[in-house]
């Protein structure tokens, strides 16, 4: 956000010097931009949430230490008090307009719920139930996010759901690999993120779905999950770019949706590619990924800084994969890069010509950086 504010300030200065706006308008615009963006992001809220996470970690470790000075019933009572005081106190603060501390207290209460589950496991010497414990914790947090309409709790629930999926995959046994029902879990999470207005939670959910596809491949050898991920991501990207208004109404992610589309496309393709590294398909996929990255830049890169950086990162990543894995021999790879480079150069030349023709009447306006 600071980046946007400073670039807007530069623009305003330039417009004022060019005589497009007077001093009063310039300061009015600057003040409005600042006020508007302060609403979206507050350092105080972030610090309150970080504080809640630290206090929550202290609480979890206090339980883990199994400190006998504290009888276990006292520990249970402490957890119950933190849950009640956290949710209730947070609600009181929220009504008084203290949003930052309200969210912090709610987060602390949700952590205490997880601590309570862990404490019961410790009290009764339970073993082998960690996945169930994570799921219960995530479910409780999801309920809290919905009931309290809390963005940070929605993110917490999304993280716990992903942690549950990863735990089942990593500590798997019979019937305990990547849970196929994970996408179904993502649906209520998504609905709650709409209700709580949490854009960050939606990003987390999309990324956990990408992780789901990757785990399906790694744990169950389901390659088509990744191809599906790449295809769906490409479709989402096209939707975000071609039907921007509708996409905004459906996903509400702004510029981020195109970024997620590109990210999913690269993730899916790159892992499949690594799997097919000694076949003809590798060459084809490398070409598709490069073409996809370039297409993404051309279609949406102009006004979307995050997308540009994702595309650059994807380009370098893909270059690295092809460079390291090689297409048979170094000469073949060299030839592939040469053809790809010449194609791009031709494309750049064409685009430059078109841009110069469009921009000719206002040639003094500088292009956007990065």
């Amino acid at each position: 956000m600071a980046g946007y504010l400073s670039s807007v300030r530069k623009d305003i200065d330039r417009w004022r010097e060019a005589g497009l706006i007077d001093d009063a308008t310039a300061s009015a615009i600057a003040a409005e931009a600042e006020a508007h963006h302060r609403r979206g992001f507050s350092l105080g809220s972030i610090l309150a949430l970080l504080a809640a996470i630290l206090v929550g970690a202290a609480l979890l470790l206090l339980i883990a230490a199994n400190w006998e000075v504290f009888p276990r019933l006292a520990r249970v009572a402490m957890i119950f008090v933190v849950i009640l005081a956290g949710y209730g106190g947070g609600a009181v603060l929220k009504k008084r307009g203290q949003h930052a501390f309200a969210e912090g207290l709610w987060l602390l209460a949700a952590i205490a719920f997880g601590g309570g589950i862990a404490l019961i496991g410790q009290m009764y010497h339970l073993s082998g139930d960690e996945a169930d414990a994570l799921l219960l914790w995530g479910g409780g947090t999801m309920l809290a996010a919905a009931a309290l309409r809390s963005g940070p709790l929605t993110m917490g629930a999304a993280l716990l759901a992903a942690a549950w999926m990863v735990y089942l995959t990593v500590e798997g046994g019979a019937g305990r690999s990547t849970p196929l029902i994970f996408p179904l879990l993502a649906l209520p999470l998504w609905a709650i993120s709409v209700w709580t207005g949490s854009v960050s939670a939606r990003h987390l959910i999309l990324m956990s779905l990408m992780l789901f596809a990757a785990l399906l491949y790694l744990d169950r050898d389901i390659t088509w999950a990744l191809l599906l991920l790449a295809a769906v991501s490409a479709a989402v990207f096209a939707f975000a770019v071609l039907r921007a208004e509708l996409a905004e109404r459906v996903f509400g992610l702004g510029d981020g949706l195109a970024v997620q589309g590109l990210l999913g496309f690269i993730t899916g393709m790159a892992i499949v590619q690594a799997d097919r590294n000694d076949s003809q398909q590798f060459l084809l996929m490398a070409a598709v990924v490069f073409a996809g990255v370039v297409a993404a830049l051309l279609l949406a890169g102009r006004g979307n800084r995050a997308l540009r950086w994702t595309a650059y990162a994807g380009f370098i990543f893909e270059l690295g994969i092809v460079y390291v894995m090689l297409l048979d021999t170094m000469l073949d790879t060299s030839g592939f890069f040469l053809i790809a480079g010449l194609t791009l150069a031709l494309l750049a030349w064409l685009i430059n010509r078109v841009e110069r023709r469009i921009a000719a009447p206002r040639s003094d306006i500088a292009g956007e950086g990065a």
Partner: protein, 194 residues
């Protein structure tokens, strides 16, 4: 929206009570196994202590943790993709008072009706397929014994030197719960209900 904000405190309190209720019901469920479950005595075979979120614990194995494949009913050892990872193990006491496995089955209790001195314990296995297996490892959810921080190593040393026994409570569904820990004949730990 206005409605939500007006009742926010009430909603928060109900939410807190629901979560507290979930935790309390978990505690009551465990206490019920301890109070009403049948007692089974198992021999303890120590493994190693570790640290995790829930604190320091000793990992334990029992005399019923590794079962020979012959014990299992209705299992074709040459073609045995497992439809379930749930195992029901029937135990019965020997002359020294240690309960030994007498039968086991995947997915359901052994078919014969359990005798008065027999108890069925429910466990799980990490296998996907038992083709060619001679031994099946089963977990019962009682493989950890939590200790105050710093005591895990010492207890583990003792476990290696002497014979320990565990009294385990088992409810009707077969869920097992650690109840009392004996060093030979000496009681070193008894689980309070709450």
């Amino acid at each position: 929206m206005k409605l939500h904000s007006r009742y926010l405190v009430a909603i928060a309190v109900v939410l807190a009570l629901v979560q507290i209720g979930v935790l309390a019901s978990m505690i009551m469920g465990r206490a019920a196994i301890l109070r009403d479950g049948r007692e089974v005595v198992l021999e303890v075979l120590p493994v190693d202590p570790r640290d995790l979120l829930r604190g320091e614990y000793v990992r334990l194995d029992y005399n019923i943790s590794s079962l020979p494949i012959e014990l299992f009913e209705g299992l074709d050892p040459d073609n045995a993709d497992l439809a379930t990872d749930i195992v029901h193990v029937r135990v019965s006491p020997n002359d020294e008072g240690i309960w030994e496995p007498v039968a086991a089955r995947f997915g359901a209790a052994p078919q014969a009706v359990a005798a008065a001195d027999e108890v069925d314990i429910r466990g799980g296995t990490f296998l996907r397929n038992v083709t060619g297996a001679r031994i099946i490892a089963v977990d019962y959810g009682i493989e950890r014994f939590y200790l105050p921080e710093g005591e895990g190593r010492a207890v583990e040393e003792n476990l290696r030197e002497r014979n320990f026994r565990m009294v385990v409570a088992v409810d009707d569904s077969g869920a097992a719960q650690i109840k009392a820990f004996y060093d030979g004949e000496t009681l070193i730990y008894r689980e309070p209900l709450y």
